[in-house]
Symmetry: D2
Subunit: 362 residues, 4 copies
């Protein structure tokens, strides 16, 4: 039950702080003898890294990784895989506000009260920068899932009130990276981009929604009652900074709906079972049913504003917190590869669990 580990058979242990020497992760339980594509890892890191476009923070971290264990002659050995990403562009000048204030809706306050001593620099351990090595680990998981024809992709389905009206199967998912907001519907993407630039000019921030679609998952992943597939995916998503909500299939809309509308009736075409609709999001009773798994992740707006905020400083005195530092107006486009990574880690973990007992006698 390591607090900083995600997964149980395929386990990723995270370490490092935003402005420390390095951040990293140790992958345990990775199947052996797997060829690893290092460029594919860097590709996902590049999609997450700061400074990648005009709408993201100007902190310019290359986020180049190195792997110092667990891979020998290009292939996994079954031993722990250690990923290290150095922190290059840490600016100490940005720390003064953090030393003086518990910044609103940041974790400074709870870290200070919980631990009594914390690394405040750039948010330290609570920074979303800790997701970078998880993205690298998730990229490895995605490669291993690909062997079993399982693919994961995410995109931005809403920024503020600008929401994509089309369902995932109506979209051209190859267009996700065509815009800086990672919304595959280009007209909607343009609206989103403009909206973000407007808010950036005002020093405000905005939330949004990432939709995730997992294809090729066989029937049977997920272990009721308490290692259900949806429950573990949700736990992983809520581990990502700024997440406020997770919903599968029709999600909160299904709560407003009727059974006669929501039920997914079965059909068998040849040897293959399907459901005619997929309101359930590909999971029933906590177990994958072979349909596409799909869910939404809601992100609140970035807490650091480029506007003054009146709040209490660490002494409890009401003061004006002035804007400073380098921050995103909307972090949701950068969250796309993060959602993919965390989903990949969970899916691979549950796949390994399912393999353990499946068809034992045969």
């Amino acid at each position: 039950m390591s607090f900083n580990s995600l997964g149980t058979l395929f386990t990723v242990t995270s370490f490092g702080e935003s402005h420390g020497e390095a951040i990293g992760a140790v992958i345990d339980g990775c199947p052996a003898n797997m060829v690893i594509d290092f460029e594919a890892i860097q590709h996902q890191l590049n999609r997450r890294r700061p400074g990648q476009s005009g709408i993201s923070t100007s902190r310019n971290e290359p986020d180049e990784f190195k792997i110092i264990s667990g891979i020998f002659e290009g292939k996994t050995t079954g031993a722990p895989i250690t990923i290290i990403i150095e922190n290059k562009e840490a600016r100490s000048a940005d720390y003064e506000n953090i030393k003086k204030f518990y910044r609103p809706s940041h974790a400074d306050f709870v870290y200070d009260k919980k631990y009594g001593h914390y690394d405040y620099r750039g948010g330290g351990r609570s920074s979303a920068r800790t997701t970078a090595p998880m993205v690298a680990a998730g990229a490895i998981a995605m490669q291993i899932l690909a062997i079993k024809n399982i693919s994961i992709c995410s995109y931005v389905s809403a920024i503020g009130a600008i929401a994509l009206m089309k369902n995932f199967d109506e979209l051209n998912l190859s267009q996700i990276d065509a815009s800086s907001v990672r919304c595959p519907d280009i007209p909607t993407a343009l609206l989103m981009e403009n909206y973000i630039y407007d808010l950036k000019a005002k020093g405000d921030t905005v939330g949004g929604v990432v939709k995730c679609v997992v294809r090729g998952v066989p029937v049977g992943l997920g272990e009721p009652l308490f290692e259900k597939l949806n429950a573990n995916l949700a736990k992983a998503m809520f581990s990502i900074n700024a997440v406020r909500g997770v919903a599968f299939g029709d999600g909160f809309e299904s709560a407003q709906s009727l059974g006669s509308i929501q039920n997914d009736v079965f059909e068998k075409i040849g040897a293959e079972w399907h459901t005619k609709t997929n309101h359930s999001g590909g999971i029933q009773g906590g177990i994958s049913n072979g349909m596409d798994i799909h869910f939404e992740v809601a992100f609140k707006p970035v807490a650091t504003l480029m506007q003054p905020q009146t709040t209490a400083d660490k002494n409890g005195d009401q003061q004006v917190l002035e804007a400073s530092g380098r921050h995103d107006t909307c972090v949701v486009p950068r969250a796309v590869p993060i959602v993919e990574a965390y989903a990949a880690i969970i899916i691979l973990n549950q796949l390994l669990i399912q393999r353990a007992s499946k068809e034992f006698a045969s």
Copy 2:
């Protein structure tokens, strides 16, 4: 990593099937020397049990529990506490449809494909009946939390499109059980009840939302990065049957909102820290901040309809599944004590974890 255990230091292991001899749970890690109030346990079971009102299923299970270990002379001993609830009113006549069909949006299909052999009677292991011993275990957790002045309460905030417009701190939460729908706003409750009776007449079902409020949680519960308080609460909620969405604080609405609106600024009144607003839902960076924790849980409609449905039978032939059995039109009011129980188990677990290392040197 027992699949049927919830929690890590305070652990509840579930067992039993809907129409087997009994269902039950084993609580491990319960603090010793605690006086247990058995009536309080039965009270929560009564709030969950079928047949309690006109809007719930007519299956009439008394859901009386017995405890066969771990409590000696009325007090916990630190040894595992075993709760047993017998299944009394199991009617085998209701099984024919389940044997013949994979019922739409039920777990029959995935259980059959995953395990190769399953107890189909009344949904077997996938039945929501398995939540009963968890409610008993949660009632014990609630008693122990009460010693630390932590209280948990839930209510129905929406049935279908009928949603409560008031925030939790505007409601009289002592009125939750005043209506059969467990909505503390009586006019809204009446609308909900009427709506449910209408749908019952049509043989249809409807979803809804349960709101949960946890008060008195001290600052510091939750272990980043991967045992965060919100992440574990979400995982627990998604372990409940029919849950499609979980959202903390402003939830999905925060994704549509701006940082300048969503940020919770700090104030210190005397020695006490507060945030002026609570959009975050009492949790920041995965750690409780001392404010009320609040979240919503979305339930899809009950999958069993009292209407015919055209679907494939187990042979793959399209057939009409006729309605039968005893089922709820809307299960959401009965989910209220379930949400409380699962929340209590998680909160107590994280409280124990926090105690382990807190103020170690002192």
Copy 3:
């Protein structure tokens, strides 16, 4: 990390006290669709139960089990399997000493100090009676291992200073149950029996050693560095009451020996790899090497004497603790099926873990 659970994928959770209503266990993660032989379970329980021969305690528990979940139509369903064994012959008259004294080398003292409140009747939770449901769970594990041609057998290799001089492969292991001491070498068994009867007459007790041999384990079970096969077997053995030592292969003798003697050199006969000797006990680097796994478990003498002992009572006053109750002179023969059961649980657990990632790409 439930304190009362053994195993991680195949998990057995124990509950119950010696003189409570019942003792039992919940098995989680058992492969589905396995036919269970109930008589084989009872057979192992009978080998463990008290009152089975003149050298065991006269407490006469039938130790009949019932299974109330997880098995449907004679086969496992993948859901938790709950085993219940009622306590029948609990005599409250025997409790007076336990209430008054912390009995020497019993757990009364540590339970009282640790928990503040404990069930003292018959040792309560600390009684070796809690091994009974584990034996039943182990009997199920043994049946599942048998499908993969893995067999486990144990025997008594020493009682006091009377030690079996032959190696396990020189013995007729079908003779284990031919004597009440479960030593397969009949002349040695007779010496042991006589020795025990002598000590019984004196009111003293004696320790001994159980040897365990596991055959048919494929190469590759065990996960370094910290889920090694030997490490987990050792942990399980030390979970058994009264165990003081565990040693694999040549054990403590190897510490006195030379590398030139201890090394197990390889040979390949046809397609099969072997080691010419097996000083390692079938495990190298924490991983099974395909040879027979063998280890020894040392049990201290039973702590309850039929002699007076001068010790402190719970007030701290030195007093004479008079003999009472029903107890074994030597518990080691009854430990034979216990060692088998715990070994089976561990081996099956590690087999499931190994299946999860083995030959992933194929």
Copy 4:
């Protein structure tokens, strides 16, 4: 259940291979706000490192560590602590034998068969070099235990047949490091040293025993039935390379003894409880009883001989494996700080677990 993690609340995750870029460990769950003494860590690493004396291997690794996360301004923050030790003196010339042979009583064979692909250089992941970062992690645990007045010390009690006859409380434990063999009885130490030099001249190796004594452990550590203190200590010890046996208190001798001799009777002196003897090794029923905890760990001889051995090569052909490389004649003296480290990790972990629920109501 990360395979490469030791502990559950205080967790140490190991990574790295003998001849890779670096080895290391991530500590999770370390209490926050603890001042760390870096020299004390290096001291323990120096006691373990190769090349420290004439009886150890000539591989000359400085084993200097760096910590790249989790410590800020000299104090722990509660975030994961990452320890890195670079591999400096890796000589590829020594690999030829390992590529060609499954070396007798090494893990080459099982790694190859289990993983299909492994880092053979210097034994790779199976090398005892992986214990170095664990020693550093253990040194941190020892510092934290010292705050609670718990101390751990180990020494060599036997090399081959040369065994220390004195009990631990008859020895001057400040003399442990006075000899290169780490036996605190100087005359015995001289015998041991001479014996090792004799064997070194012959190219042979020898096993031995490490005794470990833990003082100051309060009553109540250890969680029956399956997280007992002795069981977890034993599991940790068997995780150390070359360990063949573990025994608590009188160990295997107690199996030869009588209850009337072995029982530890109680006495109360003032407010303090003691047992007059300590045959149990400070643990009863799996729980510490407040007396000194003591146990022995048996190490087999080093498997690499400086003698030719006839064995099968990887093709299965019988060949002579010639001696090469740099290896210890007897690794037991270097195991002393390893045993201390692993014991410290377990004791601290169980202390944290005990704190979680202890005196909950107060």
